[in-house]
């Protein structure tokens, strides 16, 4: 039986208080900027990191593994759903895109 080869991942979640999209960094912080996240290239590591993330219920909600790719700036989304989560909705400049323009 052939298994699909492992593709690089990040751990994503939502922040407990405001529900904003967050990602797990290599030094165990939750960042609101996906480029700062830890890009996980190994399946066993990914599972470990997810278990760690799931124990962070006092800070985040609903942690999950999601595909990402390496770029010069750091990990970036490969699927449009996660890409939307790095920006915010497309009908208003709300969410991260607004925070970014305010220099946060």
């Amino acid at each position: 039986m052939s298994r699909r080869p492992f593709t690089p991942k990040v751990v994503a979640a939502n922040a407990l208080l405001d529900g904003d999209a967050v990602w797990l960094t290599a030094d165990d912080r939750w960042t609101r900027d996906m480029a700062e996240a830890e890009l996980i290239e190994d399946e066993a590591v990914a599972e470990d990191r997810l278990i760690h993330a799931l124990s962070q219920g006092h800070e985040v909600v609903g942690a999950y593994l999601v595909d990402a790719k390496a770029t010069a700036e750091g990990p970036a989304p490969t699927h449009f759903r996660e890409a939307f989560r790095t920006r915010g909705p497309s009908n208003y400049r709300h969410g991260k895109q607004a925070d970014a323009s305010r220099g946060l």
Partner: protein, 556 residues
Amino acid sequence: MYHYTEFDEAFVRERVAQFRAQVERRIDGSLTEDEFRPLRLMNGLYLQLHAYMLRVAIPYGTLNSRQMRQLALIADRWDKGYGHFTTRQNIQYNWPKLQDVPDMLDALADVGMHAIQTSGNTIRNVTADHFAGAAGDEIADPRPVAELIRQWSTDHPEFQFLPRKFKIAVTGSPNDRAVTKAHDIGLRMVRNEVGVGGFEVIVGGGLGRTPMIGEVIRDFLPQEDLLPYLEAIVSVYNLLGRRDNKYKARIKITVSETGIEEFRARVEDQFEQLRGEFGGADQELLARIEQSFAAPEFRTATFENFNAARLANPAFRAFTDTNLASHRAEGYCIVTVSLKAHGATPGDATSDQMRVLADLAETYGHDELRISHEQNVILPHVHKSDLPKVYATLREAGLATANVGLISDIIACPGMDYCALATARSIPIAQEIATRFDELKLEHEIGPLKIKISGCINACGHHHVGHIGILGLDRAGVENYQITLGGDHTETAVIGERAGPGFPADEIVPAIERLVGAYLENREDAGETFLAAYRRLGPDPFKAALYPEKETADAA
């Protein structure tokens, strides 16, 4: 207008206080998310893609000016200054912070509103015809009955853990504006041969993964039997409904697997047992509720100024042509205020707009407002002589778009701009279609046409019953839009047929243009609507317009 009794008020306040304590315990770490999640869902609080979302019930879509102002205040104080009205006659706030939600719920309770049973496997917000109590074609106002059902179903001890969510809609008019045939239970108020009022009861309708048009389980149910009969249906479903498979758990599957005959027999059986238990208390309650829904005192006045304004102002004339419906009282009309300005997000209203609507309702509309499942706001009782002033105020607030029932009056669910379940976006597609047909200046010529868009198979955007339905899907990591044709949400309800392969986002607007082009070319005359033409001609000319390459390939 119905006012909550002291019991209601105490119940809602107690629930808010409980939830406040639960939120505190979640934040201080004494509750895990697994423990907290069902509690927040019971209070209408969802977690979406970018933030939490609070869903607030607007029972049978009815609001007064004070409630609308409070919705505006909540939007300003704890959200981003707007709210989103949904196809379930709810309002959703897209950006609440967890720690603020108890305050938001308290602010709602101040005006007799809440978010209870807007989630979970319970009987949800009871919806009704948005023209209820005003429509010229109405047999009776369905809202007292909707309120009776709301009271019966709220916190009903047996029905807090149904196999799946349960939605009831009521209409008091033969022209069904409440989509009763696509609800778990639909109720149509009817009169029998001797003129006695009762209900046609429809069961097992629903959209979503397995769309079905409901079937008539009882063609005439006397009014006084309503609650025991509803209780019988829900208890039979509670017993038979599948709990092993979420996708087969809705009553529509129970009815189709059991067969309507067998299901009906079980319900009638149960009904016989339950009937005595209600003992008439429900009818006394209904009589009290009916008093608070007494029609306002309509005035008699002339309205030459209305006719004069129509002659003098083409924009006003266009507005009155599309956005008015006939009222049961002489000299009055029902005004639908479109929340579909071309290029805007369907169903969104800013807090300023909400306040303008509240002021208009208070000054010119007997203090009543309605939210339609088509995501518009209704001023149900406006005298025609006041309409020029109402129009001028709406216009200043960006609320005078003359497009009700036209191609740009699109239903769109939040889709992947907000919704965690979405497979694609809905809002930008609605915005682009509306903007495009506004540029073409064609929509009045096209006439009545309902486009409905959902961002996933759950079909909150009612795409199956759109004349043109659009379903957003994820096809190999790209947004893709599937078209259905010929759907109908009214008393002649039909599930639309899939037209063929889907279109990528940048091809959907041209595809819709081709479809509409085929309609304009093939219609008998301007009086034949898109749906009528589709019914006469069948799908072929429309499919040919959608897939011209295939046509040429087949011919070659």
